[in-house]
Symmetry: C2
Subunit: 307 residues, 2 copies
């Protein structure tokens, strides 16, 4: 009589990791649980990398996409990765993922949920205080050694208290709602752009909205650069038709229009509103929890509702 | 029978104006009500200017002192201005006024009261977010055109939420209380220095307090430079014994120690925490109200309690 066969534990499931840069801690945590197919480490063109992964005996059913720089998850991507059933975006925004195409093919999409919310909100407040109270401008002045030789009046800032703040943050805004943005701008001193980028919100802050915001108005953009018509923003800043701007994001990152470099009423950052060591560790937890849920056939924790 | 003599309106009272720079709006408002004896416009050395004013038939009973750069109101000052009975400081701090000497001679002192409180508090928050979230550092990075060529990991910021903030703001702190500052530092992530500068608070943030604050600690100074031992602060920053600092004030303004210029974890400003157009207009109102009260023998509105 044969002994019952000792079952080997099943091999860990394969996960595609699509991102531009290495992150040792994130990597190590993923590798502890999954067979990670790492695009940036492969050195291959994306299409080849995906095709090779799809040809494996156990092709990947899940992908983790870090940031929007490495790849767009669109029809071309999904065509060569037919085994995919789940895409997790470590970012809050999913503008690099074609949700319609994912939905059509039954690919679930989840994102980082509220992991970054408090950090990004803090950042918006920080940039607002900076623009109003000229923090970065004063910093340049002092660091440039200009203070001892200063002549005449140093430019005054503007009080924070009493300002009305309008927030464009309705998620997926239909074109019908664009009218409200104009009205919101007209009633606000400060317009915070916090909405998702999609075809309805691209350039939602356009020439008309800037006009409605008016010459005492301030734009804070902590969403995606393309939510604001950058050319019109620069024109409005140049001509004094708005007061200032705090920009964490730009239309063609990491390229920043050179005209902004000489503007003292603009605070610019390199898309770091989400960058804290706390959020870095929190997003890793959220990534793992969603993957665990997916591979256990349980509901995803931070599902993105498509369009 | 003679007609009763028509009384001429009394001439407006004389007011000394002691400051370094002109401020047209402030000047005009004072001149509407008073005979302004303007030190900075006189071109005279301070002692001569005061002696000439004292020799007038109607010598000044009140002085308005703007900022601490122009003059110290001390025994030497008061000796040549014996007619003075009231000194108004347009600043919140009165460290340039010898309160003990004023009290001894029966000279009342008032300051700007709470005019700047909200602006300075906003500024402290702005600098704190800046230090934690590296706003100015990212600004330099982007403005310097370094973003497109960036390699490797960009340094993470630190989350604002959950930080404990200790505020040194007890006004005139006795030396006995200095022990509490050490304990406050030990229990805080962020130490905001907001107290008056006097002999008890000079270097209240010293080597021991920095040590107690610890290597994750942040100093925000929006009071006076000399409340912090600047040499020890620089040493602690250099050696990584604290995390960062937001400094609106320095020990030898407008001179800033050059060692700070290369530190990315320091946010520096040119003593502008009070500088908003709103506070500028508000302080003018407060100056006039106090002068009106003084010349009408009414209680001063924002009396400074001496030591």
């Amino acid at each position: 009589m044969a002994f019952p066969a000792v079952e080997e534990p099943p091999p860990p499931p394969a996960v595609l990791l699509i991102r531009r840069r290495l992150d040792a801690a994130f990597d190590a945590a993923l590798r502890q649980r999954y067979r990670v197919l790492d695009f940036s480490a492969s050195g291959e063109p994306l299409q080849d990398f995906l095709a090779n992964a799809a040809a494996l005996p156990d092709p990947p059913r899940a992908a983790v996409v870090v940031g929007g720089f490495a790849a767009r998850v669109d029809a071309a991507f999904l065509d060569v990765a037919p085994s995919l059933a789940f895409v997790f975006s470590t970012g809050a925004g999913v503008d690099h993922i074609d949700l319609r195409e994912c939905a059509r093919r039954g690919v679930a999409v989840a994102n980082s949920g509220t992991v970054y919310s408090a950090d990004v909100a803090d950042h918006a407040v920080g940039m607002l205080i900076d623009v109003l109270r000229r923090v970065s401008a004063a910093e340049r002045f002092v660091r440039g050694g200009l203070w001892p030789a200063a002549q005449g009046e140093y430019p005054l800032g503007t009080k924070l208290g009493g300002k009305s703040v309008g927030i464009i943050g309705l998620g997926n805004i239909g074109s019908l709602i664009a009218k409200s943005v104009h009205d919101l701008a007209a009633e606000s001193d400060v317009l915070v752009v916090a909405c998702a980028l999609n075809k309805d919100t691209r350039h939602i802050v356009n020439k008309d909205v800037l006009e409605a915001l008016g010459k005492d108005g301030i734009i804070i953009n902590i969403s995606r650069g393309a939510n604001v018509d950058e050319k019109e923003l620069i024109r409005a800043l140049k001509e004094g038709r708005i007061t200032g701007a705090g920009l964490d994001v730009f239309e063609n990152e990491p390229k920043v229009p050179a005209e902004l470099f000489s503007m003292d009423n603009v605070v610019m950052m390199n898309h770091v509103a989400v960058f804290t060591s706390e959020s870095r560790s929190h997003v890793l937890d959220t990534t793992i929890s969603n993957l665990e849920a997916f591979f256990s056939w349980e509901p995803l924790l931070t599902l993105v509702l498509p369009w």
